[in-house]
Symmetry: C2
Subunit: 454 residues, 2 copies
């Protein structure tokens, strides 16, 4: 018989009332976003056509802690604080001497961590009189999270869903519809950005970059419509720090402290959410936790991309952002972890990677699914394909520690469940899940011709 | 903006340590199961080929409270106590003056209440040296619950899945596979029972009754193999009373006490699980809570079936059980709430219905989906098709109370989430979800020729 499972819970009273802003403690502050026309730092007001003012303020602030509004806390309380589990059964199956903990963010209505920022973004938009939101979604976690949050606060939502995911995961579309959202496969004929892509490639699988262009194009046409992004940006990452803020308190209730904290990386929000509060402990309190982002080998911006200014979307609607990027026109391979198919990493995470304060590695999809299935068998929860990259990273760390004979304490973020991704598991069992690794030549091609200042 | 949501949580320390056995407090004890050959009460030992002794004892005991073993409690603690939510947003959408509470049992690895008995049954089998379990599953909730529980305790599992659900819900099969279980669509060619059905009807959609026959047939062939049932039986219902035991404590933390407690009904386990602890309060402490079971109009055993002795399975392997039944050969219409497609109600619930201590009503599938979608929009959680019958029952009670001008406190059991049932929602949106109502003629035909003593 397997050993007991331990769950570390917090009471509602122990839930953090503030988000944590890493910008306050970074040794090198992030470079400013630039106006593509002038190459000069963009003024916050220039973003007002796209985002409500409160989120723009959060995007640029260096205040260390930001109060979470009561209205947001109320909805957080329906699913937060989220549990941390000690993965006793996984440890036993591995025969490891290391300790593995995971924070589970899939226990809410949306099935992933995306609810944490969806609720906040919908709230601030509502508060400023906005009527309608446009957004993109990859695998659909963000779209589902935003659909319910918008419906809750009485906002309309239009979602551009990356076409390959729209076809792979029909369940997510229906769930968004159930929350009153309208869902369009991207690239679409609704926008100039989409039409341009379809003209050159009618079979385009789409990408998060294209879907962002489409959503932004619609948003800027109407003053009562704003755009919402599910990752990458500073304010999104800020909202996700509730994960790590809770985890710090939870770990303090054990005799352990993590040697390494791990998350999967698409734009960077779930990784940053769990990692940044621990990074602060490194920077301010002399802790030495390693912070490891795990990205797909098919979309390896942090491990093989170039740190430079690039657009956040494929059409060049956004300001130029300083980031590790594979080029804003790059269309990643159709892996099932749709949420990781993004060409760049957020500004904060990119600067921290450049400064050697966070680490990154890239993994192939099949090995990640193997880890996910071992995890499901032992711990019970079927992981989202995205989260499987964090699991694979944790398994690597466990093996390394066992080989070196130095057991570690490992904490990873299980960002979501895989109930809507079951077709990907089916393909794994059918041995029909190809691996993709972006070659150096592909990377050189993807980045060539981008001459932005770095 | 909508009103705040309230969540009523219990700490692990407050979790009940005992299951509650309604047999101890029933004014009329249930009639005994009969040996089909002799028509005499069956001896508990006769069940030993099918079930471990501890579960047989629980099946026949009249002890009021049964201690939950530590090993079961440990796994319960990974997801229990489960929350009760006050459905403020649903209330607001309805404009009702009534208060609606729901207990959410979908937050565990299996996505439904079935984990509560799966863990207990796997534990007792393992403790008695059993190596392998066979079982049936309808929509797959029970199969998934049992797959992980068996894997956790080191038991093999063979699942006969009702063919229509096997085809409607492929995700559930893959999830069971991920937990190491083998899944066979039923009727199958693996058993005499299955072959007999296929001979007379090669296109049979299957039924829970047929799947039970197949699973039992395999189990009795090997002393190290036992059979497990996901509903109907007394010991299954016993394990589910953890739901109502928790709910009693949770409601005591509010200023409210339920006027009516509602659950959907297939074999009776989730309804009985939440209702029986409240029924005890009626019987012993003078409370007057109505207990309402909601079943499908296509399978209306409690509202239109006959109270008599009948088999629990289609082939007549089981003892004769005193129950409201539509006849053990009845194959219900292919509604999406596969877990409710069972011809009979458990012995305990049948006796209580006969004695007027619980109520029942039947609902059509389309109206239930309408309720489920309203619930998802307002409360966020996408319900299992089965649970939508409980929601529809709660909405009826709300409307009635508003018409009568006497606001009520309503508590229902949201027995599971619908993440694997999204194709059913798709069919609803496509207006392709037929209603079925079993006619009096169909009922007369289904029951005719069954001449067991009643």
């Amino acid at each position: 018989m397997m050993k007991k499972i331990s769950k570390i819970l917090l009471s509602e009273k122990e839930m953090p009332r503030q988000w944590y802003n890493i910008a306050a403690d970074m040794p090198n502050k992030p470079l400013p976003p630039l106006d593509p026309a002038t190459r000069q730092p963009i003024k916050p007001e220039a973003l007002a056509a796209v985002f409500p003012m409160e989120l723009i303020k959060q995007e640029v602030t260096t205040e260390r802690y930001i109060d979470i509004p009561d209205e947001v806390l109320e909805l957080y309380k329906t699913y937060r604080p989220s549990p941390i589990f000690r993965a006793y059964n996984l440890e036993k199956a591995l025969g490891t001497k290391s300790k593995i903990y995971y924070k589970y963010e899939g226990g809410n209505y949306s099935g992933s961590h995306k609810a944490n920022t969806a609720i906040a973004q919908a709230y601030y938009n509502k508060k400023e009189g906005i009527k309608r939101i446009t957004t993109e979604t990859g695998a659909g976690q963000w779209g589902c999270a935003m659909s319910y949050a918008c419906n809750y606060f009485g906002l309309e939502l239009l979602v551009f869903m990356v076409k390959v995911s729209y076809n792979q995961k029909p369940g997510r579309k229906i769930m968004m519809n159930s929350y009153n959202a309208r869902v369009i496969p991207s690239p679409s004929n609704l926008t100039d950005a989409g039409r341009k892509v379809l003209e050159s490639n009618p079979d385009s699988p789409g990408s998060l970059g294209i879907a962002i262009s489409e959503a932004m194009e619609i948003a800027v046409q109407d003053p009562y419509t704003k755009y919402a992004l599910g990752s990458v940006l500073n304010h999104v990452i800020l909202h996700q720090t509730i994960i790590g803020q809770e985890a710090l308190i939870q770990m303090s209730k054990t005799d352990d402290y993590p040697d390494v904290v791990i998350g999967c990386l698409g734009g960077g929000s779930n990784f940053s959410g769990i990692a940044f509060p621990f990074l602060r402990e490194n920077l301010v309190n002399g802790k030495k936790t390693r912070l490891l982002a795990v990205e797909p080998s098919s979309c390896p911006k942090l491990t093989k991309g170039k740190f430079m200014y690039d657009f956040g979307d494929s059409s060049g609607f956004t300001p130029l952002l300083p980031m590790y990027t594979l080029g804003h026109n790059y269309i990643p391979a159709k892996i099932h972890a749709g949420g990781l198919r993004y060409h760049g990493a957020g500004t904060l995470i990119s600067q921290l990677k450049k400064d050697g304060l966070v680490e990154a590695k890239a993994k192939m999809q099949r090995e990640c699914f193997e880890g996910a299935i071992l995890f499901a068998k032992t711990e019970g929860i079927l992981p989202a394909p995205e989260s499987s990259y964090a699991i694979a990273g944790a398994l690597d760390e466990t093996r390394k520690a066992d080989i070196e004979g130095t057991p570690k304490t490992i904490l990873f973020n299980l960002s979501g469940h895989g109930h809507f991704d079951i077709s990907a598991y089916e393909k794994y069992y059918e041995n029909n899940l190809p691996d993709h690794e972006m070659t150096d030549e592909e990377i050189a091609t993807a980045i060539s011709g981008l001459d932005f200042p770095d």
